[in-house]
């Protein structure tokens, strides 16, 4: 069970959530929040996984660069 994060935290500030928090029901806001949270986590995990995979495949100098910037 995921812990719920507010829409404002997920989307980067309350100024981005005004129409959502004003007009969506609490249930819909919760469902939307969980959906966005899942998507962002999936995307971030995929980036991290790809970074790990590419580090293993890159030649020495680049491996160090990628590891220092993205890993």
């Amino acid at each position: 069970m995921k812990s719920e994060i507010s829409l404002a935290d997920l989307l980067g500030g309350e100024d981005r959530t005004a129409p959502l928090t004003d007009f969506l029901s609490p249930n819909a806001q919760r469902e939307l929040g969980l959906s966005i949270q899942s998507y962002l986590e999936m995307e971030r995990v995929a980036v991290d996984t790809d970074v790990s995979s590419s580090v293993a495949l890159l030649p020495g100098l680049l491996r160090g660069l990628v590891r220092s910037r993205l890993a």
């Binding site: 980067g12 819909a28 966005i36 590419s54 990628v66």
Partner: protein, 484 residues
């Protein structure tokens, strides 16, 4: 329109775009649809910022360093080590010229994969710099995958040569329509259509006449303006009755009357008769939806001219339905007729109303205002509808009658003269004219009326007097008319 809420086309497109990223349950979907396209777009962009914001500084730093490596070497590493996702992120942070130089060395499948992970706001310039053949080949990969949303995301960045190459290579018009439906920047659709020859455009719109694709076709027609919209709307208007009947049903079921009405306003009137007399448009429930939509969307002015092309029984149905839908819609329809110079249409409809309905119409507040009443009187005089007008005049109250006579006496009394001529042929003609004149209070108006009456034949003058005596007005009118 059906009872369930039906979002407009842009909201539907936004929902489709959002669904490409996140899951939306039925309840959430229903609530989001009601927020409208703007709010959903804002949500989608916020999500996108979070996605592309992850480790952005790292990608930017890396992009700054790898630009010193040979491009051919980087292209090899892109496929063998980085992979599509990281390349999509990296290219979003690179100098567009370098990024394009590397991208054109990559296989189409890889570019198609990477495009799903590239920030659309950052890579437009890269796409513009790519050779048309490279863009075309990557697009063909996405076509095979039916990735319409992804193609639409980058379509507004295509160069003219890339557009031509893609349109030539993609023979399936359904795909082009679906991409156009999902394109965010509708102004780009106009530019793209201008680069496509007439025959192909006609073919694309004809493809859209399949029931399931009408929304996409309407979205394209509604997304362009001016001559281009007319061109597309005319292709729509050229379809056979069965196809157009399908359009009417889709418009009704899916709440798409606004783009249909805007499209019809842009098409040649030669198609109107066929469309407005379609069998499906004779269903009262459907017509009610259309009228309500024309009112809600401020499209009554564009809709009124269509009524003239309807057959009589159909006009009769429309006239009754407008009144049945309440004073607010009836009043708005009259104002729309006034503002767009279509009083003649109202007179056409008014002839089909029953006695009680005529009373309702004559009670409308618009007939207490000089400018619209004057325009109506002039239209009735021009179109030979004075007999009908007399029938409505008798239903006006004192203020309405006074104003009407005042207007009718302007310009040497041309309109009152037309009314006097009509009075001869209407069973209650003289009675109506006498009642109207009896409502006058201004001595100058009496003076003008006397001049007009004096120009009539002795027979008509006698008929006026006889009617005034019968109504008990003569004793009051005679001194005023004499004194005037």
């Amino acid at each position: 329109m059906t009872d369930t809420y039906q979002p407009d086309l842009e909201t539907r497109a936004e929902i489709e775009r959002l669904k490409a990223s996140i899951e939306l349950g039925e309840e959430l979907l229903g609530e989001l649809e009601k927020l409208g396209a703007g709010a959903i777009r804002q949500l989608r962009h916020s999500i996108s910022e979070q996605v592309f914001g992850y480790k952005r500084e790292g990608f930017e730093s890396l992009a700054g360093l790898v630009r010193f490596l040979p491009r051919g070497y980087l292209a090899k590493l892109a496929v063998s080590a980085f992979g599509a996702r990281l390349c999509g992120r990296l290219v979003s942070c690179m100098n567009p010229i370098s990024a394009a130089a590397i991208a054109k060395r990559l296989p189409p499948e890889f570019l198609a994969d990477a495009s799903a992970h590239a920030d659309p706001r950052k890579v437009r310039e890269v796409i513009r710099l790519l050779p048309a053949a490279v863009v075309r080949d990557s697009t063909l990969v996405l076509v095979k995958r039916r990735a319409y949303g992804l193609m639409a995301r980058f379509a507004d960045a295509l160069s003219p040569s890339a557009i031509r190459a893609i349109v030539k290579a993609v023979d399936d018009d359904e795909i082009l329509l679906k991409i156009a439906f999902l394109m965010e920047d509708k102004s780009q659709i106009s530019k793209m259509i201008q680069m496509i020859d007439n025959d192909r455009i006609a073919r694309i719109v004809r493809t859209g006449t399949d029931k399931a694709l009408w929304p996409a076709a309407l979205s394209v027609i509604d997304g362009v303006e001016g001559e281009l919209r007319s061109r597309l709307a005319n292709v729509m208007g050229q379809q056979d009755s069965a196809t157009l009947d399908g359009l009417v049903l889709v418009a009704h079921e899916q709440g798409l009357w606004p783009p249909v009405l805007r499209g019809m306003a842009a098409m040649s009137p030669k198609h109107y008769r066929k469309i407005v007399n379609l069998p499906s448009l004779r269903k009262p429930q459907l017509l009610q939806g259309l009228i309500q939509c024309a009112y809600d969307e401020n499209l009554l002015e564009a809709t009124l001219p269509l009524v003239s092309y309807m057959r009589a029984d159909h006009q009769k149905l429309v006239a009754k339905l407008v009144l049945e839908q309440g004073d607010e819609i009836a009043d708005a329809t009259l104002w729309a007729a006034n503002n767009s110079g279509h009083w003649r249409v109202i007179l056409e409809l008014a002839q089909y109303l029953e006695d009680s309905e005529r009373n309702v119409l004559a009670r409308m507040s618009i007939f207490r205002k000089k400018a619209p009443l004057k325009a109506l009187l002039e239209s009735a005089a021009e179109s030979g509808q004075m007999l009908l007008l007399l029938d409505y005049v008798k239903r006006l109250d004192g203020d309405g009658l006074r104003l009407m006579v005042q207007i009718a006496l302007e310009n040497s009394g041309d309109i009152i003269e037309s009314m006097l001529s009509a009075a001869r042929h209407h069973p209650e003609g003289w009675k109506v004219v006498v009642t109207a004149v009896a409502a006058v209070e201004d001595q100058e108006d009496f003076s003008q009326f006397r001049e007009v009456l004096a120009r009539q034949t002795d027979e008509d003058q006698q008929a006026f007097r006889k009617s005034a005596e019968g109504l008990g007005f003569w004793d009051r009118l005679a001194p005023s008319l004499d004194a005037a």
